[in-house]
Symmetry: C2
Subunit: 294 residues, 2 copies
């Protein structure tokens, strides 16, 4: 067995898909699930992707050589604090949060001497669905996982976490937490803010309900991600606040330039913006069928 | 035959799909195609959705009881001017433009006494593809077509155009041009501007290419419409400039409120915005498979 015991905090889409993939590969001696909602843990045992559930954090972590924190990002600090006194010697801890600088700060504060064995991670995958039933073993196949080790992070610990993700079929890359947070701000967090604001402005208009009725596929595609969990996105936005504010402001400047061109009826400038954007978008390929999200 | 001769200006996605649907229903004595690009007209004859092509505008329109102008919106004024001296007595003219106030102004100026038989129309359907090969007979099935007759528009002419669209399987509704333009500004034109600006800001960043590489499905879905024709969207934006500026500004205000909540780390307000938006978006249903667009 590559891993003797995996302690998994959070059995939703992200954690549940990871556990399903590791189960299928038979690489864990035991997967112990921990979570707030006992019914979810019982369901995860029924579905067979965890071997047992544990409500006592200390007992869950004891003897685990690998701990994966797959809770919503807002709950991670509390989990880190509760587990830090119970970690086995040499245990490796990793997370799945969409923002890495703030999670690293939380981990540094909670883990003290064990901080070098914390490997910050983020699988760039997901759907707008969530919950214990939502996961599937192939969620990560061909998707990217970004690890953002700090200068103190143990190289062997990074290697263990890389192995874990590669078993799921993911492509693992490393970069700084700062660069990760900037990339995610632009490619995921900003688009979510934009989608939420677009729907919200329609919902708030007189006759906005009638308008939604006429919304065609372009609008539907564009705002699909506004169906994502409000609480989760509140926490992600706050966790990546600085990078997201910077991305919002550079988008605002670009959108302002587009508005100014329209205001002065400058067709040449509008077309130049649209041509640049189309060229960049065409390089991306069609809309994702599997609808992965950050 | 419900229509003796249909003169169709523009054999691309919108006009070509209409002609295919009318052909299939065998309701036209003859469909005469007119367009700028002769090779496209020849191809349309080969594909069988027009009976013959005509480069002489006068001959194309003479004897036609129905004229459909399905060119890009920026070209409509010129077409109206060229056909107005050739229309048969009683001929009904309609268009497919995404903005209606400006098209109505163009038609009023061009048609003079024949203006009451001009029925402004807009099928809310499309894909990001375009061209003579892109159309299909079922494009309009179950989709909405909005007609925006003015106070001068002849009721019998409106009825003829309604019949034409109903043959394609579309659901026809009427409203004022002003309301149409406001609805389209919010549900189609604004989202296109947002998508173009989002891609453009990434494309313009140092390392933006690397960022696009990490863009997940959410970003892909959200920006799919940025692959639409830059020239067509330049013309639509200019044609619906006032309503679009108003929509941009109310979106800007809402987005600014979201930014302000993030700036002051106001999680309660962020979550309230996201909850409102999610509730509105969830009523819309999933992203459109057929990817219709305005």
């Amino acid at each position: 067995m590559q891993f003797q015991r995996l302690a998994l905090f959070g059995v939703g889409l992200i954690g549940g898909s990871l556990a399903r993939a590791l189960k299928r590969a038979s690489v864990c001696g035991e997967i112990v699930g921990v979570g707030r909602v006992h019914a979810d843990l019982r369901r995860a045992v029924e579905l067979g992707f965890i071997d047992r559930d544990e409500t006592d954090v200390g007992r869950a972590v004891e003897g685990a050589d690998l701990v994966v924190v797959a809770t919503p990002i807002g709950a991670m600090r509390g989990v880190f604090e509760r587990i830090s006194g119970h970690l086995a010697i040499g245990a490796v801890v990793t997370d799945v949060g969409s923002a890495k600088m703030s999670v690293i700060d939380d981990a540094r504060a909670a883990f003290g001497d064990a901080f070098p064995r914390f490997v910050p991670g983020h699988p760039i995958a997901g759907t707008e669905k969530s919950g214990v039933e939502a996961g599937f073993a192939d969620l990560y196949r061909g998707q990217r996982v970004i690890l953002t080790p700090t200068e103190w992070t143990d190289a062997a610990a990074v290697e263990r976490v890389r192995q874990m993700w590669e078993i799921t079929g993911a492509v693992v890359e490393t970069m700084t937490a700062e660069r990760h947070d900037e990339i995610l701000a632009y490619t995921s967090h900003l688009p979510h803010m934009v989608a939420y604001a677009l729907v919200d402005v329609l919902a708030g208009l007189d006759g906005g309900g009638q308008m939604l009725h006429f919304a065609a596929g372009g609008f539907r595609d564009l705002t699909r991600i506004a169906s994502s969990s409000p609480r989760m996105w509140r926490d992600i936005a706050l966790a990546n606040r600085e990078a997201l504010l910077a991305a919002i402001d550079s988008y605002g400047a670009r959108f302002g330039a587009l508005r100014a061109a329209l205001d002065r009826a400058d067709g040449g400038e509008l077309e130049a913006i649209f041509i640049r954007a189309k060229a960049a978008r065409d390089r991306l390929g069609p809309a994702g069928r599997e609808s992965p999200e950050a």
